[in-house]
Symmetry: C2
Subunit: 211 residues, 2 copies
DNA sequence: TCATTTACCAAACAATGTTCGGATTGTAGC
DNA sequence: GCTACAATCCGAACATTGTTTGGTAAATGA
């Protein structure tokens, strides 16, 4: 991990390390006490700083949260990357979908924070969809897109006039995201065989995209 | 609306009306300024009360929010009820799904608040799923359930061993909820033909449940 | 060695949810 | 109508929040 801190001056390295310590503390507080207990003072206490000292590293609490969310998206992507890519295409899609849901269930507050931010960076007017955060290398969506592409090449998914590859991936994302969201919020206390229901949902959407 | 205020004493009627005024003010603030601008003082100002006075009607800000959310779920259900029930079953399902999404897009802060509450009333241990909030008369889920049931009776949806009526409705809810959530949060700035993509998603899931 | 930038903090500020004590108002019983 | 009691309602305060300010100490570069 030290290796990543490139050819920076000692000062810049310390700065980056403290910045990361702030983010780690924030993440730990969110995980241990929930997002509503995340305060500048709590972060400062945990890393032996004063609240005011944090403003040397981040402009505001919002910026800290935004940075935590970026790391969260990277982490989510990495979780999905643990699924063996040599699985049969449809099974692969199912598994990365389930991994997405599992991530949300293991880190409900974190996940909720990541997908509740309404203050996104506004895209410049003329930008295409590739410019969007969704298509970043850190995002998890490209994995879905690539999975759908592979399934299509294997002939297991039929791209029709009414369902492009992009739209197929969007549908998959939506159903998986909807399940994750509902299960960590509205359906948290619902007694139900979710393992079964989730698989059924994924099978249904897969069948709907089959030739 | 006066008719609903039953056979209560004048005092109880005033009480109920003030309670409703508080909820209306809260809803208006959420709609006009966003959920983060919702404060006890803002509510009090709007209805000419002092902040302390509100505590005669609600125990806390959380209770106010919970009540606002309950009304939100009723409103969402009513929005979905405007879809003509005599449409062909599959088309009916598509339309109430689109109504769900439309509600979220027209009231993003409201919708987000409704489905972000993680402090739900814990279900008593021995309770079945019918006891859950999801199955309330105010909830929108029963509409989906009933729609799926009708489609099944018309032979347009095949209930299989791996996909009960309940699970089919759950799948539909998930995809619609996922679309709604993504579009008002992560994908807010995404330039994309959502009208097309949403229909494609709903068609795909419908095809996946067809015989 | 000295001047400047960096790192850091104590103290204060404004805004928040909530509580407390008392004042005012409405109601029920006589 | 009068009185006692309960219901409303509010000013003032408290604790907790994010953030700013002014200044001190340390590190850096000349």
């Amino acid at each position: 991990m030290q290796a990543l801190e490139d050819d920076l001056s000692p000062r810049a390295r310390r700065y980056a390390r403290t910045q990361q310590a702030i983010l780690d503390a924030a993440r730990a507080i969110i995980h241990e006490q929930g997002a509503d207990k995340l305060s500048m003072r709590a972060i400062a206490d945990r890393i032996d700083y004063s609240p005011a000292g944090l403003y040397e590293y981040f402009g505001s609490k919002e910026e800290i949260i935004a940075a935590v969310c970026r790391q969260g998206h990277r982490l989510l992507r990495q979780t999905m990357l643990t699924v063996p890519p040599d699985l049969p295409p449809v099974e692969y899609l199912t598994e990365i979908g389930l991994a997405y849901i599992r991530f949300a269930l293991s880190n409900p507050d974190y996940f909720l924070l990541m997908f509740t931010q309404t203050s996104a960076p506004a895209l410049e007017p003329g930008a295409g969809f590739v410019e969007h955060e969704m298509m970043d290398a850190d995002s998890s969506f490209p994995l879905l897109l690539q999975g759908v592409q592979r399934a299509r090449e294997a002939g297991l998914i039929q791209p029709r006039a009414e369902l492009s590859v992009m739209e197929a991936a969007y549908s998959l994302w939506a159903i998986v995201h909807g399940i994750a969201m509902l299960r960590i919020t509205y359906l948290r206390e619902m007694p139900m065989d979710f393992a079964r229901a989730d698989r059924a949902a994924l099978e249904a959407i897969a069948r709907g995209m089959a030739p």
